[in-house]
Symmetry: C2
Subunit: 270 residues, 2 copies
DNA sequence: CAGTACACCGTACTACGTACAGAGTAATTC
DNA sequence: GAATTACTCTGTACGTAGTACGGTGTACTG
């Protein structure tokens, strides 16, 4: 069983950042290669790693398993990738590169930001592991750059300063990622404990009843049971998403709609 | 480098939620103890674990190290705690229990929610590891309950339904935690790579210049350099916090101030 | 006093990332 | 053509983690 466990924020990029960048951008080797031909390439390694992560989560991505899938011994991977941290960078940038990017030019800013949010949500739905990789030092690869450019353009021309544009985007993306992490953690916990929420509550209820001073937590009891009932109606993740996104957009509206300067500024939706 | 918790394939009921709850609430043993006296107690174990985590991060909390600090052999800990996951639950609930809780009754809702946000921010500043523990299944201990009750009461009487109160609180706390996680990740990466942001950028810049098609990412280049300059002014984490919290509150204002029903409903601040 | 439940400990297993040294291969140099 | 050299691939092994298992001695119950 595994209950609350540190969320695995892999990645450290202990190696040389310049080397990592060259890998991300697939900079070809300078001197002609001498020894035996390579039997694999980086893309194959990354593809297998992504496949494992998609299927069984980030924990399933071990150097040993990736190697096995490729028919080589674990240490062979180190001729393609300096270490696991860099492999995770490559996975993430690849996922970024393959995201769908809707062109919303000319549409009201709410539509544009909603599209950005939903593109990211779709990313995390297709690749839940992507939400759990630390982005403390983002992989500055082609995927990341394309993503950043695309998403910033949704905030351009709204009368925000450059620093505000970056802050607003960070704010939006942080919300989406936090939501995706919650979902990933819920999945993880369900899998690790081999117990769904219903069973977990059923196991807890009798002890809680015995231990909890009734009346000590009046608001919590009232709200918690209402929220619990709502969640049992398979309501919860979708609800948190919709509720949160509306708040995020309303929060940005107070900033954006207050600014003069753009024909694209529309009235707050709904 | 971070390690993963092995997932026990068999042994389904090894980690019993009821047992965890009893630990959290310090339910005393039923039958009189027979064998040798205990030389420790749970609180000592938890205190040492928290001390390690505060000082050197969650990675420093290993059963071996905790045991060593207590002058016992690692396996001895298992008489006090079923496993590491439960120890983390206990640490988290203890941190929750010790949080400061300001009484803001009667004050405008923005002040009250700001206080809640700042209490949580202070928690994560004192115990950065607390932000990185999965709350997929929250520890339903005395700390968690007190925290939930306190924070919900800040949202009571504003004309929100119970489900909305829960959603609004989750939204606020998710923001605070996401911020704290970013900070923790930044710290972690700085420590793991033994390289500060300045050095990292310096190492990346030459390769980026060589690899990046100038003009391919116009918005990103403009905004990125503006944001980068702002961050270099030691501006960034504080800025993200202030910017984000204002958006969060403005977003909630659109919900709360639209509701009739409470004298406490004040005009949007700032 | 015998029996027993329990605290504590030593050993060992599995899984991880990866350091290191060796073997074989193909391009370069003579 | 032969020697050199750079490179790929491999086998072994180290250190760290959580914790299963079985043994030993203790202090209470009958």
């Amino acid at each position: 069983m595994r209950q609350n466990v540190p969320v695995p924020l892999d990645r450290s990029s202990a190696g040389d950042p310049a080397r990592t960048l060259e890998l991300l951008w697939r900079v070809p080797a300078g001197t002609p290669r001498r020894g035996p031909r390579k039997r694999l390439d980086i893309d194959a390694v990354v593809a297998v790693a992504i496949g494992l992560a998609d299927a069984d989560g980030l924990d399933a991505v071990t150097m040993r398993r990736v190697a096995q899938r490729l028919g080589v011994v674990p240490m062979t991977l180190y001729t393609y990738v300096p270490g696991k941290a860099e492999l995770l960078d490559l996975m993430l940038d690849t996922a970024y590169l393959r995201m769908s990017r809707t062109d919303t030019a000319g549409r009201p800013w709410r539509d544009r930001l909603t599209a950005v949010a939903e593109e990211n949500r779709a990313l995390f739905e297709a690749h839940p592991w992507a939400a759990t990789i630390s982005t403390g030092r983002p992989p500055l690869g082609p995927g990341m750059m394309a993503k950043y450019e695309h998403e910033l353009s949704a905030l351009d021309g709204l009368g925000l300063h450059d620093v505000e544009m970056d802050a607003a985007l960070t704010f939006l993306l942080t919300f989406v990622q936090a939501n995706a992490r919650s979902a990933a953690e819920a999945r993880q916990v369900r899998q690790d404990s081999a117990m769904d929420d219903e069973q977990w509550w059923a196991a807890n209820a009798p002890v809680l009843d015995r231990v909890l001073d009734p009346g000590a937590y009046p608001t919590a009891a009232r709200v918690g049971s209402a929220a619990g009932a709502a969640q049992r109606a398979a309501y919860s993740p979708e609800h948190a998403w919709e509720f949160g996104l509306r708040r995020v957009l309303d929060g940005l509206a107070a900033l954006i709609d207050g600014r003069a300067g753009s024909v694209e500024t529309g009235p707050g939706a709904r």
